[in-house]
C-alpha cells in the first residue's frame, strides 16, 4: 500500500513534468511544419529601372507595323512565290490566286479578236468593191447613160460600206479592250508586296482558299531589322504619360536583360484592351492608352515579332 501510494505520488509528478516537456516538443514540431514566411520568388523579378515609373505590358511589332496582306477577292491560291523570312521589295509578287476562269475568258476574247479582224477585211473588200463600182459610173461622162437614181444608190452603198468598216474597226478595239481588261484582272490576282520588308508570317499554301476576312491575313509583312514595342497602359495611369519619356523593356520569362527603348509616339485613340494572353481575345477588360517605342534589334538574345514584354516607363510620381 505504501509502495502504491509512493508510486502514485512520484509517478504523477513525473508524468506532469513529462507533459510540460511533451508540449514543448509539440510546439517545436508545429513550428517545423509551418510554411516559411514570404521571401523572394524563385526567379527574381526585374528591378525597376526608375524611382517612379508606370508599368505596362507590351508586344513587339515590326517597326513599320505589321502589314496583314489581304486579297482582292476570295479564291484558291495557285502559287506562293515567297517563304517565311524572305525579304521582299515593293512590287515583288507574293502569291497568286487561281485565274483559270479568266484565262478561259481570255481565249474566247482572243478568238473574238480574230473574228473582228476578218470582219474588217470583209468590210474593206466590200468598200473597195463599192468604191470601184462608183468610180466606174463616175467615169461615164454622158449623163444620159446612167439614171440619177442608180448613181445615188452607188454612192450610198459606198457610205454604208464605210460605216460598216468603221463599225468592224470599233468591234476590234472593243475586243482588244476586253482582252486588256482580262489581263489586268489576271494581273490583279497576283498579290504583290505593298512595301519593302520581310515575310514574318505565312498562313497560306498553294491549294488553300484565301478569304477576304481581315481576321486571318494570308501573310504578314514587316520590316524586322528594327522593332517597335506597342505598350498598353491602363487608362488610370494615362495621365502620367508624356511624350519622350524614357523606358526599358524586359522579355517575359527572362528578367535578366533589359532593353532600352526610344519613344516614337503616343497613339491618340484609347482603345479597349485586348488581352495579350492568347485565347482570351474577347475578354475586353478596360481601355488602354497605347504608346509606341522603337527598339534596336540586339545581336543576342534573338527577338521575335509578337513577343510579350514588360515595360517600365519613367514617369513623375502621382503626387
Amino acid at each position: 500500500m505504501n509502495f502504491f501510494s509512493k508510486l502514485l505520488r512520484y509517478g504523477s509528478l513525473a508524468a506532469a513534468l513529462l507533459g510540460v516537456v511533451a508540449i514543448i516538443l509539440v510546439s517545436r514540431t508545429q513550428a517545423e511544419k509551418q510554411m516559411p514566411p514570404a521571401g523572394d520568388p524563385p526567379v527574381v523579378p526585374p528591378r525597376k529601372p526608375f524611382a517612379h515609373s508606370v508599368a505596362a505590358t507590351g508586344i513587339l511589332e515590326a517597326l513599320s507595323e505589321n502589314v496583314a496582306i489581304g486579297v482582292p477577292q476570295s479564291g484558291m491560291v495557285s502559287e506562293v512565290f515567297v517563304k517565311v523570312n524572305d525579304s521582299v521589295k515593293k512590287g515583288d509578287p507574293l502569291f497568286k490566286l487561281d485565274d483559270r476562269d479568266l484565262l478561259a475568258q481570255q481565249i474566247s476574247t482572243r478568238a473574238q479578236l480574230d473574228v473582228a479582224g476578218s470582219q474588217i477585211s470583209i468590210n474593206e473588200a466590200q468598200l473597195a468593191k463599192f468604191s470601184a463600182q462608183l468610180a466606174r459610173l463616175d467615169a461615164v461622162t454622158d449623163s444620159r447613160a446612167i439614171s440619177k437614181d442608180d448613181m445615188e444608190n452607188r454612192r450610198q452603198d459606198v457610205s454604208i460600206a464605210q460605216a460598216q468598216l468603221a463599225a468592224a474597226r470599233a468591234g476590234l478595239t472593243s475586243a482588244e479592250a476586253s482582252l486588256e481588261s482580262i489581263s489586268m484582272l489576271i494581273e490583279r490576282l497576283t498579290i504583290r508586296a505593298p512595301r519593302d520588308g520581310s515575310v514574318i508570317q505565312l498562313n497560306i499554301r498553294a491549294g488553300e482558299y484565301a478569304a477576304t476576312s481581315p481576321k486571318s491575313p494570308a501573310m504578314i509583312l514587316g520590316d524586322i531589322d528594327k522593332l517597335q514595342v506597342r505598350a498598353d497602359i491602363d487608362e488610370q495611369n494615362a495621365t502620367r504619360i508624356r511624350a519622350g519619356q524614357k523606358a526599358y523593356a524586359y522579355l517575359k520569362g527572362d528578367t535578366s536583360i533589359s532593353f532600352p527603348l526610344e519613344f516614337i509616339r503616343v497613339e491618340p485613340y484609347v482603345i479597349p484592351k485586348v488581352s495579350l494572353t492568347g485565347s482570351s481575345i474577347e475578354r475586353v477588360d478596360t481601355r488602354v492608352l497605347q504608346v509606341i517605342y522603337s527598339l534596336e534589334r540586339p545581336e543576342d538574345p534573338p527577338l521575335y515579332v509578337g513577343q510579350q514584354v514588360d515595360l517600365f516607363i519613367e514617369a513623375p510620381d502621382r503626387n
Partner: protein
C-alpha cells in the same frame, strides 16, 4: 510545514486522484479544444501561408482570402506602377473540379502564378522541379492531393505520381511536382499552375484576376508599401504577416478595417460562422467541470482533514500559515493536474500533426492561459477550504 501539507495531500490517495483527474480533464479540454479551434481558424488562411507573398492586393471590398472579387488584368500594371512596390505579379486562386481517370470528381484549390518569376510558388518541393511548371499543361500538386487524387490511395502502385495526369474542366493537367502545403479550410488539395493556364482551366469570365501579390521596395516596410498601394490605386492592400494586431487596423464603430489579411480572414470566420460558439462552449464546459470537481473534492478533502488542521490550529498555528498550507496543496494539485492534461494534449497534438487531421495549432498562449485558468480553479477551491477552516474553532477538536 510544506512537507506536512504534502503528506496530508498524498495521504488520501483516492481524493488526491479525484482532484488531479478533475484538473486533468479541465486542462485537456481547454488546451485541446482551443488548439483545434486555432487550427481550424488557421486553415482558413491556408492560401496566405501556401502562396507566401508579403502583400496581397485585392479588390476594394474583399474581406477575406477565400472570397475574392476578381479584378482587371491591367491592375497588375497599376500596382507595379506604384513606386513603393518592388515587384507585383498576378495570382489566380479558386476552387475547381478535377476529374480522375476513373471518372470521379474531386474539388481542388487551383492556384495560378506568374510563369516568369514563379512568384507564389510552393516553398517546399518534395519531388520534381518547380521550373517544369513552364511546360505545357503541367501542374504541381501537394501531398494531400496524392491522397485525394489517387485512384486507389491504399495501393502504393496506384498512387498519383510525377508524370500522371488528370483533367481540370476537361483540360489535361500533367503532374510535374509534388510539394508540401498547408491544408485548406475547404478540404481540397492545393494545385499550382501558371496564371495563363489557370485561366484556361477556369470557365471564362469577364474578369479573372483574383489578387495581385507584391513586395515592398527597398527600405520600406510591408505596411508602408501597402498604404502606398491603397492610396495610389484605390485597391485594397493587405499585408501577409500573421494573425495579430497591425498598425493599419482602423476601428470605426462596430467594424474594424484590418491591415493584415490573416487577421481579416480569421475575424471574418469568427463573425460569420458558428465555429467560435461551438468551440467556446466546450472550453467553458471544461472550465465548469474543472471548477465543480476541484472545488467539491478539495472541500471534502479539507473537511476530512479538518481534525488535523484543527489540531494544528489548537497547537497555535496561525490562520495565515494554515491558509498558506492549503494554498500550497491546491497549487501542487493544480500543477500535477495541469501537467497530466498537457501530456494528454501533447499526445493528441502529435497524432494530429502527423496526420494533418484534425486541424491543430497551438500558440504558446494556450498552455499559458490554461495554466492560469487551472490555478484560478485551484485557488477558488483553496478559498472555500480556507473559509471553512477559519470558521472552525480549535476547541472543537477536543470536544469530539
Amino acid at each position: 510545514m510544506f512537507s506536512l501539507a504534502l503528506k496530508m495531500l498524498f495521504g488520501d490517495t483516492a481524493k488526491y486522484l479525484m482532484l488531479v483527474a478533475g484538473l486533468f480533464f479541465a486542462t485537456f479540454l481547454i488546451v485541446q479544444q482551443a488548439s483545434v479551434f486555432c487550427g481550424l481558424m488557421r486553415w482558413t488562411t491556408a492560401t496566405l501561408k501556401n502562396v507566401a507573398a508579403p502583400i496581397y492586393v485585392v479588390e476594394e471590398q474583399v474581406e477575406q482570402v477565400n472570397e475574392t472579387n476578381p479584378m482587371r488584368d491591367t491592375d497588375v500594371a497599376r500596382v507595379r506602377s506604384v513606386s513603393a512596390v518592388r515587384w507585383a505579379m498576378p495570382l489566380y486562386s479558386g476552387i475547381q473540379r478535377v476529374r480522375l481517370a476513373d471518372g470521379s470528381f474531386k474539388t481542388v484549390q487551383l492556384v495560378g502564378i506568374d510563369a516568369a518569376s514563379l512568384a507564389g510558388a510552393p516553398q517546399r518541393m518534395v519531388e520534381g522541379n518547380l521550373k517544369d511548371l513552364r511546360l505545357p499543361n503541367t501542374v504541381v500538386i501537394d501531398e494531400l492531393a496524392i491522397e485525394r487524387l489517387s485512384v486507389d490511395f491504399k495501393d502504393p502502385a496506384k498512387r498519383i505520381k510525377i508524370g500522371d495526369s488528370f483533367e481540370i474542366n476537361d483540360i489535361e493537367a500533367r503532374v510535374v511536382g509534388i510539394c508540401q502545403a498547408m491544408r485548406s479550410f475547404t478540404g481540397g488539395p492545393y494545385i499550382w499552375t501558371t496564371y495563363e493556364r489557370a485561366l484556361q482551366y477556369t470557365p471564362p469570365q469577364r474578369k479573372m484576376l483574383s489578387a495581385v501579390i507584391a513586395a515592398p521596395g527597398k527600405g520600406m516596410t510591408m505596411d508602408q508599401a501597402a498604404a502606398a498601394i491603397e492610396k495610389e490605386t484605390g485597391l485594397r492592400a493587405y499585408v501577409n504577416r500573421d494573425f495579430g494586431k497591425n498598425e493599419r487596423d482602423v476601428t470605426t464603430g462596430k467594424t474594424t478595417r484590418y491591415g493584415d489579411f490573416n487577421t481579416a480572414t480569421v475575424w471574418w470566420y469568427v463573425k460569420n460562422t458558428g465555429i467560435p460558439i461551438s468551440f467556446g462552449t466546450t472550453v467553458v464546459i471544461g472550465f465548469i467541470v474543472g471548477v465543480a470537481i476541484a472545488c467539491q473534492t478539495f472541500y471534502a478533502f479539507v473537511l476530512d482533514n479538518l481534525k488535523h488542521l484543527g489540531a494544528l490550529k489548537a497547537m497555535g498555528m496561525s490562520n495565515f500559515r494554515l491558509s498558506l498550507m492549503l494554498i500550497f496543496q491546491a497549487f501542487t494539485v493544480g500543477i500535477i493536474g495541469f501537467g497530466l492534461g498537457l501530456l494528454a494534449s501533447a499526445a493528441f497534438a502529435m497524432g494530429a500533426l502527423k496526420n494533418g487531421q484534425p486541424p491543430l495549432y497551438m500558440p504558446w498562449q494556450i498552455p499559458v492561459a490554461a495554466f492560469a485558468v487551472i490555478q484560478v480553479i485551484c485557488m477558488l477551491a483553496a478559498l472555500m477550504g480556507i473559509i471553512r477552516l477559519s470558521l472552525y474553532e480549535p476547541a472543537m477538536v477536543f470536544r469530539a
